[in-house]
Amino acid sequence: MDINRRNFFKIAGLTGVAVATGKQLVASPEKKDDVEFYGILYDSVLCKGCAGCEIDCADANGLEYPEDGPEVGVVRKTNEKQRTVVNAKETSKGVVYVKTQCMHCNEPACGTACLTQAMHKTREGAVIWREDKCMGCRYCMVSCPFDMPKFEYHSTNPVIQKCTMCYELTQQGEEPACVYNCPNGALKYGPRRELLAEARRRIVEHPDEYHDHIYGEHEAGGTGWLYLSPVPFEELGFNTNIQKSSYPALTKGFISSIAPVDILLPALLLGVHEATKQRNHNEEE
């Protein structure tokens, strides 16, 4: 391997192009057939804590029915058998119910973490998991700021369980199971942009009933699930320190430095090798 000046500039130039186009691709102009991200607005002011959504979710996804229900003082978590749970919280405005499930981030950490593209942000907004691709490394679980992907530790062919926003149902034009069945209208499915407008309208029209914040609007760079609450979100046990920019942004700098290092470092090493070889010869003379 012999690198002369011209070759060196060629390599350097190619690296530059790779770095520049890499950035351009991310910010490519919108295509006309782009679909808007869909999401779900959850209004804990309207939720009566019936936990019917837990049953409907189990029905829709072929999971076991939950054995317990929301209870004040108990924090239930989603697990490998249950994709959504409703918890009861004692707050300054009495008992408030909170539904938890995957947040379907606009830029999901799990999707960026996944090295086989098993965790996948669909064009419609749902983050889904694809069985045939996953190798079970659980890096999605390490990366998710909401701890939502759940793993079947006691299976020889384990799957990752998490809410998929009923991707298959919505593909057929239906609503997600929990939204469709909610008897209190606490859940609303639609384009994320419209949901944000609706959430703002509710806050403006009933300022005494709603806390003035939409959780999920900016959290983790924006999420598909949006939350309204009568009380500050700390009281509901939400992580309010979560960063406002997306989580994949944390690794972008590192990822984009790989190609230049991979290309330029060998050239540098070869150069140093040649230089020190020369020096040794001189010393021998």
Partner: protein, 412 residues
């Protein structure tokens, strides 16, 4: 001219008495004593470990580990992969010194270090397979159309794989010498420089990549250990982690495999070790300096007076600062015993640091903390023991510590 004739002569000399098949059969037989303390301890643990691995594949990962939904990576990743890769860093640092900087002094320990690195990678990625829930699908990463190129783990996986190839190439001349194959040796040793350059590049990227793996776990790792510079810190610490392991391993190998070494190599080795400890001092100073800058920059003062803060101070003062001073002092005075103590402290410090990032500081505020199960510990020991067994098998047979056979020098 001269080269070809001696080479041919050498070829002819070998043809008559040498039967390769019989030679290899003979080589496969065990050499050395069977009932050594190491064997007596390691064999039962390895058998138990293999049984636990069998349970893991028939009943699931949860049957033998304490992993939870909140802590999905345990000892197998935190020790075998995250710590093990840092320990194996010596291979890239040393070939950088010998082949890139042409520091010929360190050449005698290149082979054993590269062998150590190669086996470490081989067995640590083997351990990674145990931890995968669906290990067969790893093929998706290698051949499939499902490249998750934005994933740090994808980068780490590929750089692992390619680096193992580079290490194998770097070591392969020793295998050719063992097989009495001069032609093969010539071809393989011609590829060494390429493999070295390739390998150093891959190492820099995957050593830092292991730090970058945890960048997205921002809210889960204790702020004293989480920072945006983890990739850089992991590379810098891999330099002295790798060198400390070379010193530590060398002090054992030179006793266990004393029959492989001639008289003056002991003296030379002391001078090599002193040189390595000087480099360790420097690398640790850089690391310490950066640690302090990051600590101040991240405004972490409030955490110092907490249990995790004390733990952090133990790591930095007891296992970075102290061994740094020991290395500095003993390398100038030639105190070999003290150098070894410093190396052991350094290795413990790296172990602490890697476990703190990936296990102890991970979800440090969780209600139920993850503590590895005894099965996880036994499997980890099994991996280490199998590696040592293979290492010993190779060192006893191939010219790793001892000099290359005469025909190699004649053909030069």
């Amino acid at each position: 001219m001269n080269m070809t004739t001696s080479y041919q002569k050498n070829q002819e000399a070998e043809k008559v008495p040498f039967n390769r098949f019989r030679y290899l059969l003979n080589e496969l037989k065990p050499k050395g004593k069977i009932f050594t303390p190491f064997n007596v301890i390691s064999v039962p643990i390895m058998l138990l470990g293999l049984y636990i691995i069998y349970i893991r594949f028939t009943q699931g990962i949860g049957a033998v580990t304490n992993l939870t939904q909140d802590v999905p990576w345990g000892l197998w990743i935190a020790f075998d992969v995250v710590t093990g890769v840092a320990f194996a860093g010596g291979a890239y640092v040393l070939v950088f010194m010998v082949y890139i900087l042409n520091l010929k002094k360190y050449k005698p320990i290149v082979r054993i270090t590269v062998l150590n690195g190669f086996l470490a990678y081989l067995f640590y990625s083997g351990a990674l397979l145990l931890d995968l829930g669906r290990p067969l699908s790893i093929i998706n990463v290698i051949i499939g159309n499902n490249y998750g190129v934005s994933s740090v783990l994808f980068l780490v996986g590929w750089h692992f794989l390619l680096y193992m190839l580079a290490l194998l190439l770097e070591f392969s001349p020793a295998v050719a010498e063992w097989l009495h194959a001069p032609k093969l040796r010539k071809v393989l040793s011609a590829m060494t420089l390429g493999a070295v350059i390739f390998g150093i590049t891959l190492s820099v990227l995957h050593q830092s990549g292991i730090g970058a793996l945890f960048l997205m776990a921002k809210d889960k790792i204790h702020p004293l250990w989480y920072n945006a510079y983890m990739p850089l810190m992991f590379v810098v610490s891999s330099v002295f982690a790798g060198l400390a392991l070379i010193i530590f391993e060398g002090s054992i190998s030179h006793k266990v495999f004393a029959d492989q070494l001639d008289k003056d190599s002991h003296k030379k080795h002391d001078s090599i070790v002193q040189g390595l400890s000087k480099i360790c001092t420097l690398a640790m100073f850089v690391y310490l300096f950066m640690t302090i800058i990051i600590f101040v920059h991240e405004k972490n003062w409030e955490y110092l007076n907490t249990p995790m803060g004390y733990w952090y101070l133990i790591e930095i003062i007891g296992f970075v600062m102290l061994p740094m001073f020991l290395f500095f002092y003993s390398s100038r005075n030639g105190k070999m015993l003290l150098i070894r103590v410093a190396a052991i402290l350094t290795l413990l410090g790296i172990l602490l640091n890697r476990l703190n990032v990936s296990m102890i500081g991970f979800k440090w505020d969780a209600a139920v903390r993850y503590v590895p199960s005894w099965q996880e510990v036994v499997v980890t020991l099994t991996i280490i023991f199998i590696e040592i067994w293979v290492f010993r098998w190779i060192v006893r047979r191939m010219p790793v510590l001892r000099k290359s056979p005469d025909w190699v020098h004649e053909s030069k």
